[in-house]
């Protein structure tokens, strides 16, 4: 079987390409006497998300919010403690579904560190041919595939195929990583801070290329970044995370134009101004994000939230639809008990 023909769409455009339900990942922290596990980092807690076919889902949040854990869960680099995943109708890693290997054929990932994610002892051609060869593509065809991939990411095959990773610049290496992610003709690519380490002038080149490749190859992206401007540029929908939880999720226009959650608002107004006449006068929130080992009770944002009330400590707000976007905040739920919420 030639596994490398493009994968046919199965469920039609309305069926999500990827549906993750109730994903949870806690990392035990060794501590105390005899190294017994006493605490857990609650990296991702009961997270449900869907990725529609052909969209770019942006994921934003600060360090420790669990966005990279989400990326690793979606491609099963780590196994969730709980939760299920369905790829275009097929349950993943379940008796009647697809295996994790099949998932990884269809879902690929690009990491932040372009150098660490390439094998320094393999030439670029060897790196790119590795997965196609492992999937049974004959050597001659694999060579053809390598040439094709390199031209797709704007690197001249004659010039780059025989080079080693250390002979390339950061931008060129990240192009190679993107080419490698494309080698198995995946449907979904997870980009985890994929442009964050690049210089601005190079970042723009790679962003333009990502936009072109998406159209050309009919791809779907999950774009994870701490850079709100880049997420806004690329994404159709945006998911905002705070300490392992989704706080807000919706179309990019709604999230950036009319953010509802106090954290989303703070995050957006913490962006440096590009206008020296309109400099930021006051920091939107104080302090650092708390440690995810012992997240606050109730709403995890309440310790930094200017509107926190007693109900916020007592009950955890659920993600509720407000018409344009979904928000996890007591102020947006009628009858929640928060003084700023409407009566039920």
């Amino acid at each position: 079987m030639d596994t490398l023909v493009p994968i046919e769409d199965r469920g039609g455009p309305a069926q999500p390409l990827l549906l993750a339900t109730g994903l949870r990942k806690h990392f035990p922290v060794a501590g105390g006497l005899l190294g017994r596990t006493t605490k857990v980092v609650r990296a991702v807690d009961d997270l449900t998300l869907s990725v529609a076919k052909g969209e770019t889902l942006g994921v934003v949040g600060e360090s420790g919010c669990g966005k990279s854990t989400v990326a690793r869960l979606l491609i099963r680099l780590i196994k969730p403690d709980k939760g299920t995943m369905v790829l275009d109708g097929d349950p993943v890693d379940e008796p009647h579904g697809i295996t994790v290997n099949e998932l990884r054929r269809q879902v690929q990932m690009v990491f932040q560190d372009s150098y660490a994610s390439l094998n320094p002892r393999l030439t670029i051609a060897e790196t790119l041919a590795f997965a196609p060869r492992a999937h049974g593509l004959p050597a001659a065809e694999a060579r053809e595939r390598v040439r094709d991939l390199l031209s797709k990411v704007g690197l001249d095959p004659a010039n780059y195929a025989t080079r080693y990773p250390h002979e390339l610049s950061g931008g060129q290496r990240q192009r190679v990583n993107i080419a490698r992610a494309l080698a198995l003709r995946p449907r979904l690519i997870i980009l985890d801070e994929a442009v964050s380490a690049l210089d601005k002038s190079v970042e723009a080149q790679v962003l333009n290329m990502l936009v072109d490749l998406k159209t050309e190859l009919d791809l779907t992206y999950v774009f994870i970044s701490h850079d709100l401007n880049v997420v806004q540029y690329l994404s159709d929908r945006v998911l905002v995370m705070y300490l392992g939880k989704i706080v807000e999720l919706g179309p990019v226009e709604a999230i950036y134009g009319n953010p509802q959650h106090p954290y989303t608002r703070a995050l957006l107004s913490a962006r440096p101004s590009m206008d020296p006449r309109k400099r930021t006068r006051e920091a939107p929130i104080q302090g650092d994000p708390p440690n995810p080992i012992d997240p606050p009770s109730g709403c995890r944002f309440r310790t930094r939230c200017p509107f926190a009330e007693e109900v916020c400590a007592r009950t955890e707000p659920l993600l509720a639809d407000t018409g344009h976007q979904a928000v996890a905040c007591h102020m947006r739920v009628a009858g929640s008990g928060h003084s700023k919420a409407m009566a039920a």
Binding site: K200, V230, A270, R271, P272, S273, M274, D275, R279, R281
Partner: protein, 320 residues
């Protein structure tokens, strides 16, 4: 305003048995007391090397330099060991990108600040500790008395960066050098630290040189912005002017390729290619290979940094 710092034709070359890197190739600028100069550039542009030269932080046996760095009349490049160690931390101090590695992990924050205070002012241990507590209070670290006893790993990233600012200001320097101090911080914390630097700069009338690759950050803190490319300043202008009317094709490309609000759906203007290898001394404009306006005289000689109007200088043959 009088110039406290004058840098003239600074060249810094790193020499190792394998290779030579011409990191800074003729940088000149002035800084007045109470002024914040932002130096903007991409990796390898020489911005950090320029900054570190002011404190002579490069390894002496591998570094060749020429030119002049005058701080309040004293030539830094000719200072002996004693004068240098008096300079560092007292007249000039520096904050770094990674506060976790800038602090010694086996001493408490209080001990490290107090040590600096005692070294430069000769105060007693008790007095120095008292000063350390006041400093932590000044950078708005909550419960400073307890934080004095904290080790660096016990603090969050934003807190550590505040503590480093406290350490840097402990001996009342007149010049503060900042090397990407907010790059490793989260967005909501970065803005807090930027505002703190801006506020302390005003309060103590400090000269500040703030090196960053982030245009937004440079715009938030700077009075003037200098753009560096391949070891040279290619443009220097007041911040408003730099944002409104950059002249050098590289500055223009850099501003245009930076993604910000309202660019969704548009194609990003990008600068083709990558910065040059610094193994050789350039003979013409270093940006010429990537420049869309290149013409023969660009590569014939190195363009000079010329004033296009008051306080706005551009290193480009096309600048009028």
């Amino acid at each position: 305003m009088t110039n406290m710092l004058q840098v003239r034709d600074l060249h810094v070359t790193f020499v190792t048995p394998d290779r030579t890197v011409h990191a800074v190739n003729g940088v000149s600028f002035d800084l007045a007391r109470g002024e914040t100069l932002g130096i903007l550039g991409e990796s390898g542009s020489g911005k950090s090397v320029t900054l570190r030269s002011i404190l002579r932080l490069h390894p002496e046996h591998r570094t060749r330099w020429s030119g002049s760095i005058k701080l309040e009349g004293d030539e830094v490049l000719e200072m002996g060991p004693k004068a240098l160690s008096d300079l560092r931390g007292q007249r000039v101090s520096m904050i770094f990108q990674e506060p976790a590695t800038a602090f010694d992990p086996v001493f408490t924050i209080g001990q490290q600040i107090a040590e600096t205070v005692r070294r430069h002012t000769g105060k007693s241990e008790t007095e120095a500790m008292k000063r350390a507590k006041d400093l932590l209070e000044m950078v708005r670290i909550p419960s400073p008395a307890q934080r004095l006893k904290a080790y660096p790993h016990e603090m969050s990233g934003g807190m550590r960066q505040r503590a480093m600012i406290a350490l840097a200001l402990s001996c009342n320097p007149t010049l503060l050098l900042a090397d990407e101090p907010t790059t490793a911080l989260d967005a909501t914390v970065q803005i807090q630290v930027l505002l703190l630097v801006r506020e302390l700069q005003r309060e103590f009338n400090l000269g500040v040189i703030f090196v960053t690759h982030d245009i937004g950050v440079a715009v938030e803190v700077s009075d003037r912005i200098g753009v560096m490319y391949a070891g040279k300043l290619v443009e220097m202008a007041p911040v408003e002017r730099m944002v409104d009317a950059p002249q050098h094709p590289y500055s223009r490309g850099l501003l245009a390729s930076t993604v910000h609000d309202g660019m969704r759906g548009q194609r990003l203007e990008s600068i083709p290619g990558a910065p040059p290898d610094l193994a050789e001394v350039p003979s013409g404009c270093s940006f010429a290979p990537r420049c869309k306006f290149v013409r023969p005289d660009c590569t014939a000689a190195i363009p000079s940094l010329r004033d296009v109007e008051a306080a706005h200088a551009v290193r480009c043959v096309l600048a009028a």
